[in-house]
């Protein structure tokens, strides 16, 4: 248990990139329900997310939860730009979307997302998602940052 908990010296930040307030609130509530104290930070579209990441506003380690349909810059566009940025390219990203389109799915995995999660059901979704991501960050070594 010792080794597994080592990473918790610094709790993982959840960086939510989603234009929908309700989704953001739902994630917060899910964290609360699971009694997790991770920080949630939020951008409302891809452009804002890139700005926040580049300015260092998001403190590592972080996991990005990415919506695809957003104003200004959508998720796929964001992924492409992020992967080309050498200081951000390693980011661990889960796509969390209502888009069932195969095109989006393929495009997302082409940009090496950790998982493509379809927000299909309206009820237990976020609990499950947060549950999954909690397990993920407890088990998986996230990329080491310079600082």
């Amino acid at each position: 248990m010792q080794t597994i908990c080592k990473q918790n010296y610094k709790e993982v930040t959840l960086f939510v990139v989603d234009d929908d307030d309700i989704d953001a609130i739902a994630l917060e509530r899910a964290l609360l329900k699971l009694r997790l104290l991770n920080t949630i930070q939020r951008a409302r579209d891809g452009r804002q997310a890139l700005e926040m990441l580049r300015s260092g506003a998001i403190s590592p380690p972080y996991i990005i939860l990415l919506d695809l349909n957003m104003p200004r810059m959508g998720g796929i566009e964001f992924l492409k730009e992020l992967r080309m940025d050498s200081s951000l390219t390693h980011a661990v990203i889960f796509v969390l979307t209502t888009s069932k389109s195969d095109e989006d799915l393929v495009a997302a995995y082409r940009e090496h997302v950790a998982g493509y999660i379809f927000k299909q059901h309206m009820d237990r979704d976020f609990l499950e998602v947060i549950g999954l991501i909690e397990h993920y960050w407890r088990l998986v070594e996230l990329p080491v940052h310079k600082d």
């Binding site: 307030d21 309700i22 739902a26 509530r29 409302r44 104003p71 209502t98 309206m122």
Partner: protein, 503 residues
């Protein structure tokens, strides 16, 4: 009888036998035109007995109308004795005993005999050939497309009525003229060359395969054609018979087909976009509503009723959003169809009315360019465009006061170009294309409530009437939206309307 006499007699007999055996009618006359010898063929084709002909004038074998000039012709022949065909270029006729006529071809040969120069005429009944020629003419005439026959030098020898119709020339204007007159001038230069190539390799074929061919009417106008070429052997050499089809209608039809195809592609693309959008943009408020209802339940179970008013507000917000999305989607699908009637409109007055209908916040004003046009047009869609542009400018303005301006100019003589300019936050160039997409917003809906359909709707309306829309902004301050609108809208049938009348 001397030996010499008997020799002459022998030669004479042989000559008579040769004449008798000839396959066509032979008639020998003396200088005065009296018949001295005929063969059986001559008896047959003219219907006389030999005895009836001998000693008679050759003129009895001619239709009366030609007899008058015959002695003259005969004199000319005797003055320059050479074998030749009679009456070159004229139609010759023989006359039978019963008075009926038939076309003939006559070869003339001077013959020296003991009692002077005689003329031996070989006469061929060419009725059959004439009939064939006539039949050929009739076939050409009856052809459903224009036919033009030219000789090796490109001079027109025969045309049919269809050719007269499609080129607008009368027959007499065409015969003997160069075929090049039927070509647009820019193609004439190369035509003799092409013709030579064709004559060097005589085969029926289509003209100018892979090239677009055009005919030129008498009035100088051009039309697309398809041309088939056929070499024809005639008695006076090889001719080319061209079958020319006016394919304007076909070209028009294929253009129309391409247009419909494009329209279909566009509407298919729209449908695909719609499906994508329906799965996200329309579903997301539903998901939201479902979630909020769960929170309300959870919070009530936990005895936390203080959060309920917030949840309810959020819930109603989502319902309103859903309603907006559906309304705007409907408006979009109807764009270009609900056009009402034509009426005269003073654009300055219209714009001012539309602006005031928006109930703009205090501090917002509309200024108008000089001399905005008054013209007759479909007011409803034009009003819809202006309304959406004004709504956008006001809704997305980042200050409490602002100035909107409507200006205009004419473009290409057929369109007005209207420009709505605001002094809002502008749209960065990288989004200029995206803003015209369906359900595209540049700010989260939770910040600025909007369906993201406004510009998509305007674009669809403007393009329905053949115009275009373009955004101009440096993304720092101010946006100009330029759109064109036809000056005369009648006669231009929007595609969406056509579809509707068909349904």
């Amino acid at each position: 009888m001397s030996e010499n006499d008997s020799d002459i007699k022998k030669t004479d007999d042989r000559f008579r036998q040769v004449v008798e055996a000839a396959p066509n009618a032979m008639v020998m006359v003396g200088k005065s035109g009296l018949i001295e010898m005929v063969n059986t063929q001559a008896e047959i084709i003219f219907g006389y007995n030999r005895s009836e002909l001998l000693g008679q004038s050759i003129d009895c074998l001619l239709p009366e109308r030609f007899r008058h000039h015959h002695p003259q012709h005969r004199e000319v022949f005797f003055s320059d004795l050479q074998p030749r065909a009679m009456g070159v270029g004229r139609d010759l006729y023989g006359r039978r005993k019963d008075g009926s006529e038939f076309p003939v071809e006559v070869g003339l040969n001077p013959i020296e005999t003991a009692d002077g120069i005689k003329v031996l005429s070989a006469i061929t009944d060419i009725s059959a050939r004439k009939r064939m020629e006539e039949r050929f003419r009739q076939v050409v005439e009856a052809a459903p497309n224009a036919m033009v026959m030219v000789d090796k030098s490109g001079l027109i020898e025969m045309v049919n009525t269809q050719a007269e119709i499609i080129f607008g020339y009368s027959r007499s204007e065409l015969l003997g003229q160069s075929i090049d007159n039927l070509l647009p001038e820019r193609f004439r230069h190369h035509h003799p060359q092409h013709r030579e190539v064709f004559f060097s390799d005589l085969q029926p074929r289509a003209m100018g395969v892979g090239r677009d061919l055009y005919g030129r009417r008498k009035d100088g106008s051009e039309f697309p054609v398809e041309v088939g070429l056929n070499p024809i052997e005639t008695e006076d050499g090889i001719k080319v018979l061209s079958a020319i089809t006016d394919i304007s209608a076909r070209v028009q039809a294929s253009l129309k087909l391409a247009e419909h195809h494009e329209e279909l592609e566009r509407s298919n693309k729209e449908l695909a976009t719609f499906a994508y959008i329906a799965s996200h943009d329309l579903k997301s408020p539903l998901r939201g509503i479902f979630q909020i209802s769960q929170w309300i339940e959870e919070d009530l179970n936990n005895g936390n009723s203080a959060s309920i008013p917030d949840h309810m507000n959020l819930l109603r917000g989502r319902l309103r959003r859903m309603e907006h999305l559906l309304d705007d989607l409907l408006a979009y699908s109807r764009a270009g169809r609900m056009e009402g009637g034509m009426s005269q409109v003073n654009l300055g007055v219209l714009a001012q009315n539309v602006f005031e209908m928006q109930a703009p916040p205090d501090g917002f004003i509309l200024t108008l360019g000089d001399g905005l046009p008054t013209f007759t047009t479909l007011v409803t869609p034009l009003e819809q465009v202006l309304r959406n542009l004004f709504t956008n400018a006001i809704k997305h303005h980042d200050r409490s006061s602002g100035v909107l301006n409507l200006d205009w100019c004419t473009q290409d003589n057929h369109y007005y170009k209207f420009t709505v300019t605001d002094d809002g936050p502008g749209i960065p160039p990288q989004y200029h294309e995206r803003v015209f997409g369906m359900f595209q917003t540049l700010r989260p809906r939770d910040e600025v409530e909007g369906s993201g359909m406004g510009l998509a709707l305007i674009k669809k309306i403007v393009e329905t009437y053949g115009g275009f829309i373009r955004v101009e902004s440096d993304g720092i301050r101010g946006t100009s939206l330029h759109f064109t609108w036809p000056i005369r809208i009648e006669g231009r049938q929007p595609i969406a309307n056509n579809l509707q009348t068909k349904l």
